[in-house]
Symmetry: C4
Subunit: 371 residues, 4 copies
């Protein structure tokens, strides 16, 4: 353990033996301090949307194709011309120093080890440059929480471009912090500085609650912001936090090169639908104009399959990765991705799908199951 400002950070570094990703939560809870764990695990209000996110995968069922004459499924895919060995990517997640002393650097290494795509959060514990340098040559996206201060935004985007990121994820569903009861119960304040905020006039976030952090960010985010970032960076801008077909089309109209369907893992607006449930109508509206990334609730190989079959091009997740990070550092992250890839590969074979393209065209049924 490494102690920083009274907070005990894990410095584990080992491969994990994983039965399944849901089981990691209880293990991680033992080693992540209460405040940090509550920040990671919690959702908004009474966690209703958070719970539905995972339960909603039961709303669609995989129809296996028999006699498909395939073997050795191939998980590799592409986005914006980037070759990936797996369609499962790391979702942007703040403050990974809460889980491990190496923070995002370890996550980046673990993700690179499986040939996946890393995304960095604006609110990372480690800096854009450091996280990028931790996995040289591996593809990364940078996620932007827009500041009211455009000088600051430009400065971050400059760093991201300089670090070689392949795309900008603009988060638009968190213009204020969700009503997160775990953080209130724990009176949680970030014990660890956010590296990217150090040059930010409002300070580095240390000793602040998430509410204060968000208050320093922009509440007003509009279509012009998408255009501005795209023009400034010349990078693909993916708008994250889309939950309706109308918004997906407006984002594309505003210059988005990608749509990121998500409800922020149930951490922002409670009482909205499960992300998986809104995916099909959005995919239909987008109609392959731009790629779609999906997150919120993904825990199983079968979830990855269902999300791709429902219209996603990449599938992201974060909480289980942070648990793996706490339990095993970079290798723990790698173990988490290997586990979900392993489960997903089995599902691909059993469903009779050889490639990710096959998965995307696989049919789903929609019987109504209750539990």
């Amino acid at each position: 353990m490494t102690e920083v400002n009274g907070y005990q950070q894990s410095d584990n570094e080992k491969k994990l033996t994983i039965l399944n990703l849901p089981a990691l939560e209880a293990e991680a809870k033992k080693i992540i301090p209460t405040g940090g764990f509550g920040y990671i695990v919690g959702g908004a209000e009474d966690d209703w949307t958070l719970r539905q996110n995972t339960l909603a995968f039961q709303h669609a069922q995989i129809v296996p194709k028999a006699l498909s004459n395939i073997e050795s499924p191939d998980l590799s895919t592409q986005i914006f011309g980037i070759d990936l060995k797996t369609p499962v990517m790391m979702a942007p997640a703040a403050a990974q120093g809460l889980a491990h002393s190496q923070g995002e650097k370890a996550t980046a290494k673990g993700v690179a080890a499986v040939g996946g795509l890393m995304s960095q959060s604006t609110y990372s514990s480690t800096s854009i440059a450091d996280t990028a340098a931790a996995a040289p040559g591996a593809p990364q996206f940078f996620q932007l929480y827009m500041s009211k201060d455009w000088d600051f935004n430009y400065s971050l985007l400059d760093e991201a471009v300089k670090a070689g990121v392949k795309g900008i994820i603009l988060t638009v569903d968190a213009t204020v912090d969700g009503y997160r009861e775990q953080d209130i119960i724990n009176n949680f304040q970030f014990p660890i500085p956010m590296a990217n905020l150090e040059k930010f006039s409002a300070g580095d976030g240390k000793g602040k609650g998430i509410g204060e952090i968000y208050a320093s960010a922009a509440q007003k985010i509009g279509e012009d912001d998408v255009r501005r970032i795209a023009e400034y960076t010349k990078l693909p801008v993916i708008v994250k936090g889309i939950e309706s077909p109308e918004d997906a089309l407006r984002a594309i109209g505003a210059g988005a090169s990608g749509i990121y369907v998500s409800n922020h893992g149930g951490r922002e607006l409670n009482g909205g639908p499960a992300a998986f449930d809104v995916l099909p109508s959005i995919a239909k509206a987008v109609n392959h104009q731009v790629p779609i990334i999906f997150d919120s609730g993904v825990r199983r190989g079968s979830h990855v399959f269902k999300a791709l079959a429902a219209g996603a091009d990449l599938v992201a997740f974060a909480r289980p990765v942070l648990y793996g990070l706490a339990l095993g550092g970079a290798q723990g992250v790698q173990s988490v991705f290997e586990q979900i890839d392993h489960e997903f590969e089995i599902v691909m074979q059993l469903a009779g799908t050889k490639t990710i393209a096959d998965v995307k065209q696989a049919p789903l049924t929609h019987f109504n199951y209750q539990d």
Copy 2:
């Protein structure tokens, strides 16, 4: 504590630290005597409709509008030309002396402190004049449980008009008391007089059960009564307890200036639908001819949003307010309203809605969730 006729009334007066409104119930149970608490918390028969009232908010989901470019949502609204700082109002609730020695006077003060709308019950522990005087200048409605004796009705209405109330809520869904098992188990009788009944031939209610109280009231309530009250008071009459489009239109035809969709918090007819589920069809039928007030089951900011988006103009609640009243008097009431307003404001921002008018036009989805 103040003891009245052997009943221990809270006389707390303090701001409350509230995590969420559902959590208040257990706290309040500790300080409200069993009989009074049972009277407040209970529903009819096996509480099925009561439970569905809150669960039904899961039947509709909020579709956030991304890239909406808004900040600082504005909760202010109007009804009958009255300016309100919040669309959340106090539902009429009887016998608030059960929760606090200051009864409705404290509630009125707390509601006024947030710029909300108070409604007084016929069966109040404090008189119309006293409750009105507790919050001078603040808007109040008076709720009428019609007596068989029109002299008595006129007398009450006269007092209400004199006290300056802005509207009359005529309750039509409680022509006999619901089968409330909590009251039977506790053999509950009102320990505290009902101030407005003191001049009533049947007595002030003290030492009576709710069945006896209702028996003294009118069972027959018809369209003519709406007209009669409207003509007599020249005030807007809002008919409370409407659960179908047909009845809403009939009430309007009979002179109602407002419709109050409610199933009396599940306290009267058990086995009817959740109030939230019948709201959209009623709103469609009413078609903005008159404003719609909604109550039954509201506990969260997201519930307020959903009720407005489903057709309500104001959203009322009572039980959590009574718990706040018991725990903190007028300040406790204020804390309860501030909590739900705070949650609601977050939801407004995250949903991309700047004004109450925006909320009323926000779309809802209707995926079928089970828990």
Copy 3:
């Protein structure tokens, strides 16, 4: 207690204080011997249909009529010209000596005390004549479990006619005993003779299991049997155990004067629908050609209302009555009927329905609730 063949029969005789009918089961379990209680309470296979019977009342919801200007609801109704003070009747139930030493005689008295309709089972503990004589002048039906031996059938029908019964209920849904696990677990055999079987060649049932009893009865029951009984008795024949519109029409075609929608309280065929769910389509098909009696799952006043609104003319139940019988004899039976009538009367008033005819025309909604 009265001991008969080692079986302890209750001989209670008192009015009961009842909170609600579901709560009676636990009370009754304390005084009815295990085997007898298991026989009464149990259903077939895993009790799935039994459970759905009561849960299904949640599939329809009462839409109250506001401003209906009514008071003092009138529960009286008629069937086959018989005046009844309540639409709630006693379903035929075997072997009531299991619950009380006075058996069906006490039940008949209790039912008569509320002005309701009694039905006697072929497998009664007391004889047709004795049960009829216990409540002189009160209306009764006789339920026939057809024997293979028509001399025996005619003999029973002769007795019933002689005793003045007003109708014959022919049970057709029990041509073999359901797979009742409670009886198997308890190795249950009837400790008490069945009076009507004493002249039956197969014996009086004492010391036999229900399987043996049914084995002595007719398995083949067809349309001709309906005609034969109607012609022989000149009484209305009500065919009991109808679960589809087709069968209702066939029964009418075969001479039935009434349809009895029931799945035998979940005691015969498990895996069929809840009786309440099939009622509307049957009522639509029958289209008032003949009256419809309904049972299976009724426990609340709101259930009575819903069954009538869904198409029934009379609503029957048995298990709660048997619990009341065990706990209080004839007066206990009376208390059970008074309780459900009381709840039902409240529902009628709150729903805005003055008469049973109004209830039958009351609308129901069908929102999908889960619990």
Copy 4:
């Protein structure tokens, strides 16, 4: 008990007293060693599809035919000209030596005793010839897990033909082992050799996990394989693991003489629909061109009825049989079949169906029940 390679095999041989088949699981768990029991009981991932398999029978309900004038239902039926005394057959199940020292030989005897159809698995503990010889003259099918090595496949098929099997079941839904967490938790490896694999180049399976066993088998299975097996054996080939109408038609086009609707008891692909839910659409597409066998989740007589009424010609199950095998050997297997036949016969009588043909034409309703 017989100890083989440190594994304790039951050698019980007795008739069982069975309340119901679900209750057998707990009994069997007491005598089957943990690893073997986990292998038998477990499903894939979180067992969701496994659980839905049985719950899904609640999605359809039996509509009894009243006044049907039938008695003594006849359970006999035919498939491919084979006379059977029951439509309930033994599903192919691997490694029955885990449950009993006599393995498939005892199962075959027990199945023959009720006049049912046995199917042998490629991965049987006893050889094709021995299992066939255990029940001389009784009908059996042989289930093939295709090897990559066609010499081996031909050799197995030769043995099967020589042993007189009446059909070949080709399993196509297990081209890799499902993600079975029970086996991972128990680090399960087969303690007992698989007799049919002894001449297989990859060894007899002893000391291997199911993953290794499947790895030696063919992953690529296509339409040509169906044709090849049919032509080689001249026997009916039944393709097992069909879950969609499209695949059923393709299998028939490839020469299948029968369709076997199954999701492998939830042991392979998790996240697919319950087998019972896909049966009606497949039956409609197949339209009686070839017979349909159904398994996955069958535990009750009412389940057998529903599967036949939904389109199956035979209904198979395995887990309860293995529990009966462990508890009572051949006689235990016989007891299990007698129990489900007994329940099914009661359901047939109560549903008013005299023959299996009647059952196949019986209507089902589809009310939406939650539990």
